[in-house]
Symmetry: C2
Subunit: 451 residues, 2 copies
Amino acid sequence: MKVAKFGGSSLSSASQIIKVANIIRNDSNIRFVVVSAPGKRNDSDIKITDLLIALHTNHSIGISTTSIENQIIDRYQQIAVELDINVAIVKEFQAQLHDLLQTITNSDRLLDALKSCGEDFNAQLISQYFNKIGLEAEYKSPEAMGIFVTDEPGNAQLLKESYAKIATHKDSEKVLVIPGFFGVSKQRNIVTFSRGGSDITGAIIARGVEADIYENYTDQSHIYSAHPGIVKNPHAINEITYREMRELAYSGFGIFHDEALTPLYEVRIPIQIKNTNAPEIVGTKIVVDRGEVKKYPVIGVSGDEGFISVTIKRYLLNREVGYTRRLLQIFEDHDINVEHIPTGIDDISVVMRANQFEHNNKLEELLEDIEQQFEPEWIHVEKDLAIIAIVGEGMRDTIGIANKATAAFADSNISLRMINQGASEISMFFAIPSKDLKKALNNLYQNYFEK
Amino acid sequence: MKVAKFGGSSLSSASQIIKVANIIRNDSNIRFVVVSAPGKRNDSDIKITDLLIALHTNHSIGISTTSIENQIIDRYQQIAVELDINVAIVKEFQAQLHDLLQTITNSDRLLDALKSCGEDFNAQLISQYFNKIGLEAEYKSPEAMGIFVTDEPGNAQLLKESYAKIATHKDSEKVLVIPGFFGVSKQRNIVTFSRGGSDITGAIIARGVEADIYENYTDQSHIYSAHPGIVKNPHAINEITYREMRELAYSGFGIFHDEALTPLYEVRIPIQIKNTNAPEIVGTKIVVDRGEVKKYPVIGVSGDEGFISVTIKRYLLNREVGYTRRLLQIFEDHDINVEHIPTGIDDISVVMRANQFEHNNKLEELLEDIEQQFEPEWIHVEKDLAIIAIVGEGMRDTIGIANKATAAFADSNISLRMINQGASEISMFFAIPSKDLKKALNNLYQNYFEK
C-alpha cells in the first residue's frame, strides 16, 4: 500500500490534475493522496500560496483585498470549469475566505489559516474530480485524519499520538485525499509546518498508515549524482540512502527537508521520487540501506557557496585543556552554528555559513570576543569559501576515494583551504575558494564517474 | 653573542668535556655555557641523575646509601683525575651530598636538591677545567645568575623578573658556566623544572642575555625530514620553523620540549642544533620564519601510534545547536585531552591518545556518559590508530600537497580513517591503522622528497 504526495507543479492546472488522476487510476495500491496548493503554471505565474500571503498582508494593512481574492477564486474556478465539476464548491471557498478574514483577529493565526486554504481547497476540488471520473475518493481534513500538532503559529510540530489516530484510516475503502502543509492543534487552531510543507504531511500519513512506500511526485524523476545546472548530464541515481541524501543536501541538493524525512527514516519506509509528467520512469528510491555499495562507493558530489572560516593560532594552544570547547562556547554565545572544526596543533579553524553574519556587526563582535578570551597571536578570517561534499556509503571500505578528490583539485590548480573526513566515512568535505566551485565539481564528477 | 648548552652525552666523560672545551675555545662568541649532568658513556651506563634519584629513594626507605653515593662521587672523581684538576673539589661534592641528606627533611625538597647536584657539580668541575687550560671561566649558580622560579617541587616555572637579573651578566668578561635544570625560589629552595631540563635553562639564559643565537649541543647534528629509524636515510633539515617543529614533534619527533622553546620563540632568537662530536657540521637551525618556503613547502613527515577514535552518529545531529561543544564537555569532564574532531553532517569523531584510557574503566565510563547524554544511533570505537602529520610552512601556497599524500596512501592500499587539514595549512593529519604506519611514512617520504 502506498501514500502518494503531489507537489504544486503537479497540481497547477486542470491538465496536471488529470495526469494525477491517471496515476491513481493505474495504481490501485495508492490509497492516500496528499496534495499541495496549485503551483506555477509557467515562470511568470504566481503560486496560490503566495497570493494567500499577499491577501493576508493587504488585509493587515487595511488595503482592499478584492482584487487578490478574485485572483485566487478565479484560479480555482478555472480549474473546476476545465475539470467539468460543479463550480458551487468554488463559491464555498470564497465564503470561507471571507469568513476567516472576518472572524480571526490574531494576525499570525489568520496567516496560518489563510495559507492552509491553498492545499485545503485543492484537496476538495481534486476529491470531487476523482469521484466524477469514477475513482471513489473522499476529502479528509487534517483534523479528520488526526494530524494533531503543537500550537505555535507557522511552526507546527507533530504530536506523537497522531500516528495512532491516522492508523484508524488504514483500511479505508475510498482513496483519501488530504491537504498537505498543516495540522490542527489541541486548541483547534490551524497551524502550518515551518518548512517542508506538504512533504511532511505525506511522510506523516505514510508512517501513520504504515505504507510500504511513500511516492513523492514532482516534476523531476530523479536525484542526480551532481547538480545538473553545474555538471553537464550527470547520471541519475537509482537508490540513495537517507544519510547520503542528507549529506548531499547539506551542500546544494535541496529536494527534501529534513523534517519530511525523519518520520520515515525512523520506521524505515522508503521514498520513491516520481515525476507526474513521466510516471513510467521508476525514479530514485531513498532507502535506509542500499545495495551496490561496493560498485558505487561514491553516490554523488555536491557543493555550495557562502561559507566563511575563522582561524586562530597561538603557540602552545594545543596544551590548554578544553580550548576547543571554550572556543565553541563563544560561537554558541553569538548564536552561530558551526559546521566544521579542523584543528592543527596550535591552530584551530571554525567553518560556518556566512549568512549568519549578515546583520549589524555580528562578525566583528564575535572576533572581538575571541580576541579577548583567547589572545591569539593571529586571527584570520577567510570569506567566499565554498564547501564541496563527496558522499557515499561505500567510501569507508574503498581505498583511494580521497586520492581521486585531491587529484581533481590538484589537476585544476585549486587550493584546498580545509579537508575534513571523519571516522564514519560516509562523506568527505573540502573547503575551496568560491570562484573555483564549478571547475571543482566538474573535475570531481569526471574523476568519480567518468574515468 | 651565543649561549651554548651541552647535553648529558656531551659531558659524560673527560674526553667529552675536552671536546666541549675545544668548541668554546674555537668560538669566542660563546659567552655562556649551560651544562647537563654527566650522561651515559655507553648503553649499559647509568646517568648521574638516575643515581641521584636512586640515592633519594634509598635514603627515604632507610637503606644504606653508601654504595650509591660512592658510585656518584667516583664518577666525578674519575672525570677530575682524567682532566687533571684538583680532586679536592670532589670531596666538597661529597660533603654537600651528606649535608643535604641530613638537613632537608621534606622528601620532595630533598629530591629536587639531590637531582640538582648532577648539573651543579658538573658545572663546577667544567669551570675549573676551563680555567686550567687558560679559558677564563666562572661557575655561576642559578641563584647567582638570577634564575628565580616558583616554589612547587619538581615543577619550577620561571618568574618573569628573572630576565632583568640575568641581563646584568650580559657583558661578563669571563665565560660563565651555569648548571641547567633548576632554579631557586623566593623561599630560597632549589626547584627543578618538570620537563625539558637543561634545555629550559639554556633558553632562559639566551633570552635573558639577548643572545644572537642559542646553540644546543647533543650527539645529533640535525633534525631529519622523517624518523631515521623508520625511513631509510631521510635528508637533514637545514632550517625549520618553531611551529613546524612543534607540529612534527606532535607525532614522533622529540628533540625539544615546548617549555624550552617558548622563551626563545617569543623574542625570535633562533636555535642552532649542533653536535659536540662533529662541531664542524652547521646543523639544523630553528627559526621563526624560514626562507625557501616555496622550494620546500613540506619540511617533514612524521607519525605516531597509540591513538583511538570515538565516533557517534545520529540522524539530524547536525541540527542541534552546540552539540559539538556539549560532546567535548563530556570528554573534558572525564579528563580526556582531545586531538582532532572531524565532523560529518550527522556524525562526529573524536580522536585522542589511547594512553589516557589505560586505567580502570575510563573508556567504558566515557562511552556510558556519551550514550546517556546523546543517545546516539551508533557509537563506534576504533583502537590502534596511528596519526601521520605532514608539515610545512609552504603548504598553504602550494597546490597538490594533499594529493601527494592521498596518492601515497592509495598506492600502498591504506585506508584513511580521518583527514584533518585546517585553514592555517601548516600541517595535515591522517589517521590510519597502526599496522600501516611504517609503510605509509616510507611512501609519503618518497612522494614528497624523492620523486
